[in-house]
Each structure stands twice: as structure tokens, then as C-alpha cells.
Symmetry: C2
Subunit: 318 residues, 2 copies
Amino acid sequence: MKADVRLIGLDWGTSSLRAYLYDADGKVVASRREGWGIRHLPEGGFTAALHAVTADWPACRIVAAGMVGSRQGWLEVPYVDLPADATSIAHGMLRLDACDSHELWIAPGLRRHVPADVMRGEETQIIGALALQPLCQANTRFVLPGTHSKWATVVDGRIVAFDTVMTGEMYALLIKHSILGAGLPDFAASSFVERAFVRGVHTARDSGAEGVFGRLFSTRALMLAGELAATDVPDFLSGLLIGEEFRIALQRDNGVIAPLCLIGEAALCQRYTLAARQFGYAVPAVLEDASVQGLWQLASAAGLLTDARLHSYSGVTP
Amino acid sequence: MKADVRLIGLDWGTSSLRAYLYDADGKVVASRREGWGIRHLPEGGFTAALHAVTADWPACRIVAAGMVGSRQGWLEVPYVDLPADATSIAHGMLRLDACDSHELWIAPGLRRHVPADVMRGEETQIIGALALQPLCQANTRFVLPGTHSKWATVVDGRIVAFDTVMTGEMYALLIKHSILGAGLPDFAASSFVERAFVRGVHTARDSGAEGVFGRLFSTRALMLAGELAATDVPDFLSGLLIGEEFRIALQRDNGVIAPLCLIGEAALCQRYTLAARQFGYAVPAVLEDASVQGLWQLASAAGLLTDARLHSYSGVTP
């Protein structure tokens, strides 16, 4: 390993742990991925996971983001309030000296007070995306689709608002456990039915201010009427729920269509791109992952890339 | 049993079967309840259930309503379109001669085309309620809360619109299977926390045109922030979802507050009454059950209460 290695970044979530080794230019020179999310730690817990994932890497500072900073994580790092940017998030980082060979800083999540909402990890992705896509700094909606989709509003380079929509979790609940999924063929093997998805998106869009909560049952009614094939149900429902995210976003933005930047897995982002088109949005920017860049940006904003500013932040040692 | 017995009514749903024996004045002179819903039939199926529940009762015409007329029921009776009233519903009844000693008529459900929606059984309750509460015939929203809550708009004595909201099912899914219910104490035993319920209703109300789908996660965020006790979560969530029903209803009615009539179990109707107050509604009329009256009204509209009109309806014998 060369002497110009400068930082280790950890994207440490609920179900996985990714580690990146950066050189002095912020380039990733090595990376590893393990299944050691905070709920799936190896014997020896957090310390053992850290040692193993950084084995043979030179001792240098570490910045970690994600659920590792939650109450169920290694060290609970208090949420930072809105508006937030790399500087304010870096100020909220806490230092953990639990491991002998490393200086570990854990990033905070973000909190919105009314309505109450929180995120952990996505803020780092957004900070990364802002560095990767400078044009998105002006006025952009960042969408991180998934189990708990996040929609964040960035204005002038700062995160000024965000919302969580339980789209992925709701989809799984309805398909697996509700009457809407009862008696469906094994859909896991089936391919994407675009027509059914778009139909669901349109149903959400056309629900106006009522929203889809009162339209979910139409899935069942359409099936009973022979107007929706059982094989179309999963993607129709996916379209309904993803469409609802866009409907809500437009209501929140008073109908103003802002530029979009999607951060997430490619197939999921394709669905969101398709939904965005139905609502009149321009084709969104898409990033598969931005936490690599986000961790580097946070380290930079915290002054952790130069020895001179090493002790300028008030970390705690629990 | 007296000679003036005129009709047997069956309220035959998914999970239970209720039978009523009426005299010539429409008064119930005997009633029985069994757990033989269409998914829980005794050995011998529908015929055996009917014979048992009417055992020792004199042979007379029978009117049945509910899921017994569905595809999974005894005889699929096609849905009747909106607008609907006792006459049009009675016209849609089909006759089944499967049982030797009885002439059995099964009532249809109602269907709305756009957005697609269906009901079976609730239409009979609404017809009964209109007879019990004549003041509700002018312009009233009938609400039948439950697993799949029904909201029906009655104008000039006719059902002109209705919507299904999967409130009860969604509540159960979220509490039992989602992150919102994770780690809660055993709530089944706990009593109603009115404060938490009303807070949930207000959250739904104040979500405006966005709706609660993007607010569900706030349940989790409030818990994490220590602003919502774990013991308050179930009723907060109940308030969110029931509140959403009212929010949707007001959006549909363009903010016009119509008179309400609730039909359902007393404790549940109390929650809806409390929610209605938060939205500015007058105290709703409440009926615990109206199907007894509804079955009689349908029999009357079908001319089944007089021998002269016995064969005036075009029933089929499958």
C-alpha cells in the first residue's frame, strides 16, 4: 500500500458494510463489501467487523455514515437539523476511539421537526451527488428510492427539506400479506409489465388531491371485473405506489416541476424515470451510488484530510 | 311458530352467517348467528349451513345478502351499477332453487366503474339505514368502518357514489408487519389512548392535499425523537389512517361537510365520531347494524312479501 493513502470511508447500513480506501486525490484505491450490517454483525461486534473490513489497510482516519450512527449502531450521533450541507453535517460528526489503530468519525443523520422525519446515510449520498452533479446544486429534488424512499429538496447547495415515503415496505406488505396479493401466481419470477406499471402511475396521478390510499382497493375491483390480469397486479400496484410519491411531491411543490436526481439501483431508477415522465418531469439524472463521494466530501468538510485540523472538532469518547 | 311468518333474511358474509325470521310486519321474531361465513362452511357446504341455520323455522322465502353472492359464494350475482336504490338492487337479485323447502333470492353487490370499486353486503345495510333514518335520504355520507371501510354518497334516496378505503387491513399490516409496529409492547391489552388518536387525526387533516402516505413514517420519527411513547403508537396510527378517510372524503366533496351516518360496531363508531369532530363534522348518526332492516326492504322492493308478485322477477336456476 502506498504512502499517499489518506482516508477510509465506511458506508455502514442495516444490512451491509462497504469500505473504501482513498488516496490523497480522493480516488478509491481499494474497496470491500461485507454483509455485516448493524443487525448482522460478526462475532466480536462492531470492532471485529471494522478490523476485518480494513485488514491490511494502512492506519488512517475513517469516516462512517449510515445506521452505524443510530441508537442501534456503534455510537448514537445526534441528528443535525435542516437546512443542512456538508459543513453542518461534518460539524455534527462524533469521534469514537474504540479501535486502537484508527481514528473513527461517525456522521450524523438529518432530522426534520414538522412533520417529524429522519434519515441516516442518505444525507451522505446527497452530499456526494452534489459534488458529482454540480448542476443539481441550484434547485433539485433528490430521490433515493427503496424500502423507505427519501425525497430531498436541495436549494443553493443545501438540503432544505425531505420526506420519507414507505413505498418499498408498503409494496411488500400489500403483495405478501393483503387481499390485493391473495391468490396471485408466483410473481418473483415474472418480468416487468410496463403497461400495468404505467396504468398504476396514471391512476395515482389522476387521483388528484385524494391520493391513492382510497384507490388501493381498485386493484382488487379491477381483478374481479376481469379488467386487470393477475400477472399485472404486482406492477400495477408498484405504479400506484411510486406514482403516489410523485403526486405527493407535486402537491408539496405546488405543481412546480423541479429537476430530479435519482440515486439508487438501476432497475428501480428505471421505474422512477418512467413514472417521472408520466408526470411531465424531464429525464432525471441517475446515480447508482454516491456515498463513496459523499464520505470523501464529509471528511474534507471536517478537515480530516489534513493533519493540521485534526483536533479542531469536538468529538466524544463514550 | 305462528302462521304470520313472512320472510327469512340472511346476512351471509365471509366470516359469519346471521339469520332472521320476520313476521308480516317486518318484525324479527327469531334470529340465529353461526360462524359459517363463506370461507368457514360446515360439512355439506352452503346447503347444510342453510338447513341448520333455519332448522325448525317454517318454509318461507329467503333473501340473502353479502359475500354469498360473490364468485366464491353460493351463486355469483352480477354487480348492479350506480346510481342504485332498493328497487334497482332488488331487480338484480337472482333466485337459487338448490334447496327443496325454500325459495332463496340472493342480492347483488354494487359496482363503480371509474375508479373501479365494488361492495357486497354494505349496500343492504345502507338500504336498511335509509329506512331507519329517513332524514338521511336527502344528502348523506354513509360510513361503514372496518377492514375495508366503505364511504357511500346518498342523494335523494339513491346511492350515487362510493369508495373503499383499506383502513382496517392497512392498520393490521402496519402494526403487525412493518417497522412502525416493531418493538411495541403488547398493545392488544391496552386501552384506547384518545390523545394519541386525536394527534394522528390532526396529522392526517393537516397533511392537506399530500395525504398521509408520506406521513406514515413520522410515526417512527416521533418515536425515535422521544415525542411519541411506544404505547401511543397504535392509536396514533389508527388516528392517522381514520383521519385519512375523512381527508379524502372532504377532498372528494370539495370541502363541503355533509351529514354523516355511521354503521358499525360501537367502539369503532366512537373513533369515527371523534375523528369527524376534528374535521368539523356534526355528530354523526350511528347504527350498530342495519342489515336486518335492509333485507326486509329488499324483499319488499322485490315483491317477495306478497304471493301475487311471487313470479314477477326473472330469477335463474343454475
